[in-house]
């Protein structure tokens, strides 16, 4: 009986998220390098491989920093888990990068991304900026999370190079966590450099 329980526990744990500490220089998708000054935790969910790296300081329900690198035309910004589409149905659209998208459409992709779970998203500021050494845009947004009604604040950066999208977003509860953790996220984002 004990052996069965151990096997069941191991099987259960193998399906859990893995969390690893990230320090020093990190490379996202082999194409974007960032320097990590504070310790961040990289979170990897089991199963579906997402096209972004996701880091957190305090845990995913409190904050996350997502980093996308070298997203190709036709590639989605997130991947739905396998089996999430009912049999006989077509999959719903997911925000997808396309070649030559103007900046406002790129910002819209992230607006749709954060609305996908029914959360309310509102862009509060969009302005030109440099990200990863390329001309792009910095955007600020607010999110009211559907699951628990928590009010969050977010900031994103994006740019394109040779028909590839590079982006980062940081999101945290607007009270206390966002103002405290944003400088840490910004210090990572400021160091972003495209490789190759």
């Amino acid at each position: 009986m004990k052996k069965i329980l151990i096997v069941l526990v191991l099987a259960f744990l193998s399906g859990c998220m893995s969390i690893t500490k990230v320090e020093g220089e990190q490379v996202v998708n082999n194409r974007m390098a960032v320097k990590v000054t504070d310790a961040w935790n990289k979170v990897s969910a089991p199963g579906t491989q997402q096209p972004f790296d996701m880091w957190t300081q305090e845990g995913l329900t409190l904050d996350h920093l997502r980093l996308w690198a070298a997203i190709k035309p036709g590639q989605a910004l997130l991947v739905r888990p396998a089996g999430s589409v009912p049999v006989g149905q077509k999959a719903a659209r997911v925000p997808t990068y396309q070649s030559g998208m103007p900046l406002d459409q790129l910002v819209n992709l992230f607006e749709v991304l954060y609305s996908a779970d029914g959360s309310m998203v509102s862009m509060t500021k969009v302005e030109p900026a440099v990200f990863a050494g390329e001309k792009g845009v910095r955007f600020e947004f607010s999110v009211t999370r559907k699951g628990d009604d928590v009010q969050l604040k977010g900031v994103g950066w994006l740019s394109q190079r040779k028909d590839e999208l590079y982006a980062a977003t940081f999101l945290a509860p607007k009270l206390a966590f966002f103002p405290r953790l944003l400088p840490k996220a910004e210090s990572v984002v400021r160091t972003a450099q495209i490789k190759g």
Binding site: L8, A11, P86, G88, Q89, K90, A91, A92, R93, V94, P95, Q98, M101, P102, L103, D104, Q105, V107, N108, E111, V112, S115, A116, G118, M120, V121, S122, M123, T124, K125, V126, E127, P128, V137, E140, T144, K146, D149, Q151
Partner: protein
């Protein structure tokens, strides 16, 4: 308690009547009401006469009411609730016309969610999603959906659902110990539990029709609600969505339902209340259209906006919304479609500021600099504090020789 059961209970509370978006077929035979005295209307159908009393706390129904009370307390604080006294009163009055003597027991909450749905909890908490308010064309169509929900309430279907869920949850918990097969079993058990049975849907539809006709509405509008929604559902569900979709599995086939609804509606005249409805929601409609656009489900949104424009080709908000969806979808010919819609929208009175923004962005893409600058300047003149004012000013500077 396992995570599955906890999640299931939470989802049960939140889902309420998630699967009632269609109007079911109208089969004969309504059960006697479990509480209260049934009166008989002119058509010989029982209608509830007596208000429900709060069930004893130690009963399963009392526990269910308690859970729903807590959920309502949470909902009252939720930022998703649209707090507008005028809209709230309009909807509450409509519910009262439908519910008659039960009016004081039903509390309406408008919830900002861009999907077609309304729910009714056994303690009298009614939720109306803004996606429903955007989609219905008149008061009669809204009355058809709300009457259907009140039908579930009057027949206390949620209590039956809870009792069914208990046995299913215990079953799924057992099979959940066996990995993937168990997981599939859980999903099946939960999906079945969250939906009202076909019988419940049928009874709620039939009662809803009686309530809306009693309130003086045109019963044929109930069939129209379903026809309208079907166009959107077909985008992901295919032509036979009414027969295949798990969401619709508890509902009779669409054609049957529409025909039965029309049969029950008869030829009796009734009001649609189109003007009153448009007036009541006009202040919110642009925001709801933008919430719809933000879903990013372009094809579904186009079905919806095409329907609006087939009703009124001069609908400046719908022209903006459709033009914006074409612009964002950016498929073949979409830029031209977008330009056409946005040009028409901005030429009309009361065009939204966002229509000028979208037109400027389209013109910029078409490399028509002067036209883009004109549209951007108009946008900033109407909305100087816009979130993207910085970016737009930058575009103007780039495009100005």
């Amino acid at each position: 308690m396992t995570e599955m059961v906890l999640g299931g209970r939470r989802a049960f509370l939140r889902s309420a009547c998630k699967h009632c978006l269609g109007m079911g077929a109208l089969l004969p035979g309504l059960p006697a009401f479990a509480q209260g005295v049934a009166a008989v209307d002119s058509a010989g159908m029982p209608l509830p006469a007596e208000r429900f009393s709060r069930p004893a706390l130690e009963t399963d129904e009392g526990g269910l009411w308690g859970m729903m009370d807590r959920e309502e307390t949470r909902l009252r604080r939720s930022p998703f609730v649209v707090r507008d006294a005028e809209l709230g009163k309009y909807l509450q009055d409509l519910v009262c016309r439908l519910a008659g003597d039960h009016c004081p027991d039903i509390r309406v909450h408008v919830v900002r969610t861009p999907l077609f749905n309304a729910t009714m909890a056994p303690n009298g908490m009614m939720q109306i999603w803004t996606g429903l308010l955007l989609r219905v064309e008149n008061e009669a169509q809204l009355a058809a959906v709300l009457g259907h929900e009140i039908g579930h309430y009057l027949e206390r279907h949620t209590l039956e659902r809870l009792r069914d869920l208990r046995s299913r949850a215990a079953f799924a918990q057992f099979i959940g110990m066996f990995g993937l097969v168990g997981a599939i079993g859980q999903l099946g058990a939960l999906a079945g539990a969250f939906a009202f049975s076909r019988d419940h849907e049928t009874r709620a539809d039939r009662l809803g029709m009686r309530l809306m006709k009693r309130a003086g509405y045109d019963g044929r509008q109930a069939a129209q609600v379903w026809d309208n929604l079907l166009g959107e559902l077909k985008i992901t569900g295919g032509e036979d969505v009414g027969k295949r979709s798990p969401m619709m599995a508890t509902h009779p086939p669409v054609e049957t339902r529409r025909d039965e609804l029309l049969k029950l509606a008869g030829d009796a005249p009734g009001s649609t209340g189109a003007e009153q409805y448009q007036q009541a929601v006009s202040r919110f409609r642009l925001g709801w259209l933008q919430d719809e656009i933000r879903r990013g489900q372009f094809e579904e949104s186009l079905v919806l906006f095409n329907r609006f424009l087939s009703r009124n080709a001069q609908d400046t908000q719908a022209l903006y919304a459709r033009g914006e969806v074409y612009r964002l979808r950016a498929g073949q010919q979409d830029l031209q479609f977008s330009l056409d819609d946005l040009t028409r929208s901005t030429a009309l009175d009361q065009a939204p500021a966002e229509a000028f923004r979208a037109l400027g962005l389209v013109q910029k893409q078409r490399t028509d600099g002067p036209a883009a600058v004109r549209a951007f300047e108009k946008y900033l003149a109407v909305a100087p504090e816009a979130a993207d004012a910085g970016l737009i000013k930058n575009y103007i500077a780039e495009l100005t020789p």
